[in-house]
Subunit: 425 residues, 2 copies
């Protein structure tokens, strides 16, 4: 970390020629990654718990952040922690409600998530963390960040609490209808993600279906199996996996469409909640059992923490020009801290570039029906319609930036309120 100040003589913000996409973690930036944009307005416990978690991420885990949301409110919260001005703030007027979906991303071009996406596009943030409603976050991110070149559809990757190492499941709900070739791309996305997150060189990828044999499944799964089994796409295909394999840890990555993946994930979460609720009831139903429960409290709490979706939960939207970490709507401070750490780790590991490399391998392979994968259809949902820009329509974010008022000696705020000229003390 030391020496990073002198190494970066030029202003950290890229020239605003409109062509500067986010290049987080690229060769010129490995020394000091860009900050993570945190949406302080999304989630059931926003902004208090979100900001509390962000403060912990900065203090305890040395993650660089920029907080997006109602600037006065954020400043008020930071005051409580006595670190006003140490974390940059970018103002956003609006928030997406938890229930809002795709339409809101058009209606609210100045939402905190839209502003956070804009920071990524401008190269002023490397990734985005939000505990807002998944539908709204996904729709806004797709609209603002656009799909990565070569990626047909984005996917949400979640981490399942298997032992000894976690298992990545994708897609957990970004793309409900997908083609077999899209599933192959999801396998590539998951491979890149497992490489960065789990540090596995050649992660083993399983296809979620309803039987071990190649011919088992619906039409989508059967064709995807054929494509994956044909090899030569840079994916270590380990065959079919079934629903009861999700928590078994036999593979590193499990690939499925967003409809099936979402239902499987929520089924798992709901089952864990029901099981624990019933166990608690059984453990406290009689005086004898209650005494037993006292003796086990600590172990059970540890187990609950590991399996509780609120702890391990949340997903990462992959395949866009920027990484979006979607924390659980019910996230408390600790979950937000984890999400910020995760975003930082993915940005440092250059996940977007790794995905590009991995997806390009699938395209060198000539599948029989391989006519997709150009990425041209990635914004086909509303072709030709202009995307409303955040801010007043000119520069976008500038109008929303609130420079932190008094520059402090140890950590000076840069002219744009985002990039302190020096490193953290």
């Amino acid at each position: 970390m030391s020496g990073s100040t002198s190494a970066r003589g030029e202003p950290s913000r890229p020239p605003r020629d409109g062509t500067a996409p986010a290049r987080r973690g690229g060769p010129a930036r490995t020394v000091r990654p860009l900050p993570i944009a945190v949406d302080t307005m999304g989630g059931d416990h926003a902004p208090e718990e979100v900001i509390a978690g962000a403060v912990d991420a900065v203090r305890e885990h040395d993650v660089r952040l920029v907080l997006v949301g109602q600037a006065p409110r954020i400043r008020h919260e930071l005051d409580r922690y006595g670190i006003t001005g140490q974390i940059p703030i970018v103002h956003a007027d609006e928030a997406l409600d938890m229930g809002e979906g795709a339409l809101a991303s058009w209606r609210k071009p100045r939402s905190s998530i839209a502003i956070a996406c804009h920071l990524i596009k401008q190269g002023r943030a490397s990734a985005l963390v939000s505990a807002g409603g998944t539908a709204g976050v996904v729709a806004t991110s797709r609209l603002r960040l656009k799909g990565q070149q070569g990626v047909m559809r984005p996917a949400i990757a979640v981490t399942l609490p298997t032992r000894p190492t976690p298992t990545i499941l994708l897609d957990a709900g970004a793309t409900a209808d997908v083609k077999p070739e899209g599933l192959v791309q999801f396998a590539a996305l998951g491979t890149a993600y497992a490489q960065v997150l789990l540090g596995i060189d050649r992660p083993r990828v399983g296809l979620l279906t309803i039987g071990e044999e190649p011919g088992k499944g619906n039409k989508l799964a059967k064709r995807a199996h054929e494509l994956l089994a044909s090899g030569n796409h840079g994916i270590e295909f380990a065959g079919n996996v079934e629903g009861h394999d999700l928590l078994r840890g036999g593979v590193d990555v499990i690939v499925t469409d967003g409809f099936t993946g979402n239902i499987a994930l929520k089924t798992m979460e709901g089952t864990i909640r029901t099981a624990f609720a019933e166990i608690r009831e059984a453990m406290t139903s009689t005086a004898t059992a209650r005494m037993g429960a006292l003796l086990q409290r600590r172990r059970m709490q540890g187990l609950r923490d590991r399996l509780d979706p609120d702890t391990y939960g949340g997903g990462v939207l992959l395949g866009l020009n920027g990484t979006v970490v979607i924390a659980h709507g019910a996230s408390r401070a600790r979950a937000i801290t984890s999400a910020c750490e995760l975003a930082d780790r993915l940005a440092t590991g250059r996940i977007v570039e790794r995905i590009r490399e991995q997806v390009s391998l699938t395209r060198t392979h000539r599948f029989g029906r391989w006519t997709h994968g150009t990425g041209d259809e990635r914004n086909a949902d509303r072709p030709g319609e202009p995307v409303p820009e955040p801010g007043d329509g000119s520069d976008g974010v500038t109008g929303g930036v609130v420079p932190d008022p008094p520059p402090r000696p140890a950590e000076e705020t840069g002219p744009d309120g985002l990039e302190p000229p020096g490193g953290k003390p």
Copy 2:
């Protein structure tokens, strides 16, 4: 039960004119339902545990059965229980292996499942119980029993252990690719099933998808929602449900395609197993925790029994000309007994007729795209191909029937070895 003998003067076996389908529970038979055919050769613990469970069903629950399988072996087992000759036996030469799928149902026309189906077709059994591999049982039953008139595709219904009343989930894996109109039919199948099994007059039906709002889901779920929400099909549609609602008990029936349903079910089962395994580990990891576990053993065992798939598990194949109860492959005697009771209950409740009535209601409704539902495509998989018959090809089963050797005073075996002339003592 008393007086049934005198009420049925004519021989109980229908005339073999080739036109007599199974009419279990029909007006002429409400007094004494036909026996349930039990496949003694399917399952991990066949035939010992299957026969043990069957014996219990006869002894403790007064269910009438006919055992299908290797006759000498069955007789040997019945000897051990000292009830040789009290349960009719029908010999079958072959068994389907657990891993065998659709092809085996063609290759093995004399398999125990094929013979059991033939008993139903001949009106000599009302339903079939098997713990064999699901793929093989489904394929053989579809081939032998054929789809019910008006039903496009069959579905497997399973019972989820919700409180206070169970929830029916279908399809759990019979039909991986289904049309929206097929999902509406599944809703009708589930409605009939819940009426018979749970005694609910108008069961509430939820559609499994990935969001509560009508527009959430993949194309299939969205269109099925439109059809179900349009009303006028005899189904009490309660809207969308999500994965975490499976164990919540908010609806009586949950409808989905066989791919999604199978993955959701297996995810639930796998999660329950993992949760209990980890809890056991946590509860016995330290001396203190072990002491606590001792105090709770009884309550936890009760909970485990309720949630363990081996206890509540198994499914019912609906939509064919006969009811097929598929017990878990790992079924022990107790699970087989439950399966026999379930089959008896469904036969007594005339499930096949109830389905016919319920499905006909969906067809009176004029959907925009409602071009299916005639049942003509139900055997479209292999059009025109002749179905090999069991036995020597003439009558089918007769060659396989092994009359129980010595007639006993209390319960005499009829001339066909199946229908004792009197009621059970």
